[in-house]
Amino acid sequence: MSISFNLNGKPAVTDAAPARRLAHVLREDLGFTGTKIGCDAGDCGACTVLLDGEQVCSCLVPVAQVADRDVTTVEGLASADGRLSELQQAFHEYGAAQCGICTPGMLMAAADMFKHNATPSDDQIMDAMGGVLCRCTGYNKIVDAVKHVVQPNGVDFVSPDAGGAMGARTLKTDGIQKVDGTELFGADVAPADALWARTIRSPHHSATFTLGDFDDLYKKWPGLERVFTAADVPGNNGYGIYPEIKDQPAFADGQVRFKGETVVALVGTHEAVYGIRDEDVPINYELREPLFGFAGLDDGAHQMHDANPGNILAHGYVKKGEAKSAMETADVVVEDSFVTGFVEHGYIEPEAGWAQRVGDRLEITVSTQAPYMDRDEVAQIIGIPNESVRIIPTACGGGFGGKLDLGVHPVIGVAAWVLNKPVRCTWTRIESMAASTKRHPSRITARYGCTKDGDLVAYDMSGDFNTGAYVSWGLTVKDRVPVHATGPYYVPHVEAATRAVFANETPAGAFRGFGIPQAAIAHDTLMDMMADEIGMDILEFRLRNAIRKGQDTATGQVLEYSAGLDQCLVALREPWQKARAAAEKFNAESDGVTRRGVGLGCMWYGCGNTSLSNPSTMHVGIAADGTVTLYSGAQDIGQGTNTTMMQVAADGLGIRMDQMELVWGDTDKTADAGKSSASRQAYVSGRAAMEAGQDLRGQILRLANVGDDASIEFGEGRLTVTEGDAVRVIDLSDLSDDKLHGNVLVGEATFDPPATPLDDMGQGNPYGTYGFGAQVAEVEVDVDLGTVKVLHVWAAHDVGAAINPTQVEGQVHGGVAQGLGLALMEEYLPGRTENLHDYLIPTFGDVPPIDVYLIEDPEPTGPYGAKGIGEPALIPTPPAIFGAIHHATGVRMKQAPATPDRVRAAILAAQGEK
């Protein structure tokens, strides 16, 4: 029986099963993919639509219930002629959409609110929109955009002139599709005839297994095309991000090492692969005692990988001077231990994509952070040359490190290759959480020593990092942590040792900061403790020790340029002093139950891969018709790389940004610009994009036989070059169009940041530049309940030069929000918190107003002075919050997250000691 309803004011009919979720009917049956699915459980709000004008989660509505009713989706917000609504335009202008996956839900929730309340207060905005989660923006710019609709504030966004894009608040080049519902993410692009793949995952943390006979499944489910197993992998049944280590099986082969590991994949019709229950797939498990946490280090623990005795993946080490003996000369030595747990990326877009075999090539269209790495990984799984794989990235609905490792690729790649049919896959939220990588849990013990005058003497730390069942990015974490272990301070003597340890838990990989956020909790809590011991202001103590140009790091790298921590701290001095005084006044007048505190955190972070070559190559071409195109392989994961690359390339060439086209991501059309990780795209790819533009400009000037100061006017089919009174016209159709992608002229540039290997003592120059930052957090603690509310954050970050201040602010806001989550609420427990209602990420009401101070100490190797900000923004937030809790209560939190029960327990323990 068909169901009729009104969809965006027009009649719609569906023959879908009445119990089918409205969201699925809209997306899969009717093609309205503007409505996004983040969880299918009402936890994230991405699928919010209006039903008879009221917001509902369309993932929870049986389509039977919309019969004869009005459904409005994001596609229904713009006017019939495509003009954006005021709300959409405000989202676009304010940078309220970063990756854009939550944006349709946000817009619909706001639209519902405006139907009931034309002049909402901030609290009413948050109450109305609180059912939608955003992982990118920290909500600040969303609230600003909604408030702009209530009360326009006159901000004017103009397209910059030629040469003026750098530093301008340009609108996102891909911003409109993020607010009008046309942006295409990993789950939005598969052809209608694609088969579906569903992974059957290990329900056990550790087991051996045998596969049974699938004949009964095939008989019962004619739509089941094939069950894929390890035996079906044409090439190497293993992957991993390091060229020499491919330890994670595409399909488990006889044993599973974590709950959620891929065992087999069902491929067939949607009805079949989602109709089959996991328990009906014959897999016989023999359970083993799982190793959790650091149990793999215990005597007698079973060995998880033959290559790694004692379950230790690797050691990391940095030694400068003689920290242990120098520590004895310090006037004050503080020591403590710190613990953190698994943290989930929580991007609102679960992993998704589709694959097809095209002759001897395989094409995978997928949400990713790393097109070229994906390409090479998939190629060796299929057993074909790298060039035979094409990765076509979709818009990425958040990554934060979690979409660097392969997701759906192995299953859809193998299935499409073997079946020679298109195959699609979208992970459920539960799968995404169970199977994707996590932040490494850590346990760190550290000692910091200083003189009574406040000069740092020595730092000595050791830390273990749980890398889970497979290597993933474990080697990077064990190396990055000792390099950054001291924090952004000049320390004469340093010894820092790390181990990456295997466990029967979710692989720990890359997550915004690669271990540095964990290390920062240790170093900056100890900094607070030293300052208290010697009676020095916490900020002034850090300012005294802030590493400056001319000083050397723990690896002996002398900083020559762009080391702006001191400027960050100076910028924060006033808010710090005011907030500290206000908190102390509040506490003096308080009843003792509600107490406020203000804390400070500092960070540094090397931009680019540690001691490794990590080049980016960019092209800017001009075609015979005059079309100028930037070919950028720097994947935009919501952070805005599509826009920033255009800005620096346009300025390099000297063209108006809106006169230039962008081709992005596709490995057949763009050169390798590395991964969107390590805060490297603005710095490394940005430099390449700027130089590619400059290279093309140079070629044009040489063609015109004019000097560097000449100006170029870009016209249809021709260029007009002016130098003083001389004017030369280049007719582009006179030039041969045999250059890259059919262009007549192509500028090219490659940039690989200067870095040198680390020796056995961890000495060397691991990065071309470092980002610096400091944040002040003000909190309110309910002493009787242990709840912590962050009231305000002031964040100062040295970004070298802000390519686009709106986007830099957005990165800072989002980093603070994730740091807040790490500090207060986020802990992934395998098998227990595999959804977004047991695993908590900050909501509208949890992220405070954030004041951003952009410090620009230019980095000469970066594009127009710029360096990275993606990861730096998260790092100082947890220690700032922990410091604020201490200021409020006198209690030092040494375990993240500082959940209400842990804070309360610490307060009770402290009271017991008194």
Partner: protein, 278 residues
């Protein structure tokens, strides 16, 4: 092939239940989250089209909440002041999306220990009206919600609504929910309380229920009895002792330890009373 029935008449619904097992679906806010990535292949009875089941209205000595009334319906309903706690609970159920679709009756039928609606209904001595082809019966909510995901509903019955006895005109109620974030949060502890004062300003009747600290939200009857007759003023909250909380049997889980729950319950009970005696 599973069957999906969406009748407009109650009789049709009850007859369908008499004919065989069906899952009853209204707002879908608990039904679908339990089936992420899994087949939806049960026989379903969708009750949302049944005429007359969505009312929230006074009926003589009690108020009635119909089977398909949503949290938003409750928030918007014109109700006496002592419904404040229930309205507050409604505002803290999920986001507005969930409040617009989810029903109060669904919340009690789902019988989660952390059900936001249950403490308030327990404190108000609500009773549950069940119907089947053989007739109706009414049971106190404490005899309806029997345990974690367990109710007294028989397979051929559907819950038709809730009856809430009228409180004194100056009765006041309070609801406090403790969670680890602001929105979309499952409670660690919830407290709902209703205070009715005697003419002399003492406690005539005080009802307090605590949620998330036992399989089913629990009334603290010893505490209630101890406080009757005491002045309902700023000193009342201080009379709550740890012993009063002892009947609770919290468990430790991802949201908090058992010890923490007991400790927080004591604080929240005191605060709820303080709020009512301000």
């Amino acid at each position: 092939m599973s069957s999906y029935l969406r009748p407009t008449e109650l009789d049709e619904a009850l007859q369908a239940l008499a004919a065989g097992d069906r899952i009853i679906v209204a707002g879908g806010t608990d039904f679908y989250p339990a089936r992420v990535g899994k087949p939806v292949d049960e026989d379903i009875l969708d009750v949302t089209a049944i005429d007359g089941l969505r009312r929230i209205e006074p009926r003589g000595d009690h108020f009635h909440i119909g089977a398909t009334a949503t949290w938003t319906d409750l928030i918007r309903a014109d109700l006496p002041d002592w419904f404040r706690a229930m309205k507050q609970a409604a505002r803290e159920v999920g986001g507005v999306q969930i409040q617009n679709a989810g029903t109060i009756i669904g919340n009690i039928c789902n019988a989660s220990p952390a059900a936001d609606g249950v403490p308030g209904l327990v404190a108000l001595d609500a009773s549950v009206v069940l119907g089947s082809v053989s007739g109706e019966r009414e049971v106190p909510i404490t005899e309806f919600v029997l345990g974690n995901r367990k109710t007294a509903r028989k397979p051929d019955e559907m819950v038709l609504g809730l009856n809430i006895p009228v409180c004194g005109t100056d009765a006041k109620s309070a609801f406090l929910k403790l969670g680890a974030r602001k929105y979309l949060v499952i409670s660690i502890v919830m407290v709902s309380a209703v205070l009715e004062k005697a003419a002399d300003g003492t406690v005539e009747r005080l009802r307090i229920a605590v949620g998330s600290c036992s399989e089913v939200a629990k009334r603290l009857t010893a505490l209630e009895a101890d406080l009757v007759g005491k002045p309902a003023d700023g000193g009342l909250a201080a009379l709550v002792t740890e012993d009063h909380i002892a009947p609770l049997s919290p468990i430790g889980d991802v949201r908090g330890s058992a010890e923490y729950r007991s400790d927080a319950a004591l604080t929240l009970v005191r605060r709820a009373i303080a709020e009512l005696t301000e």
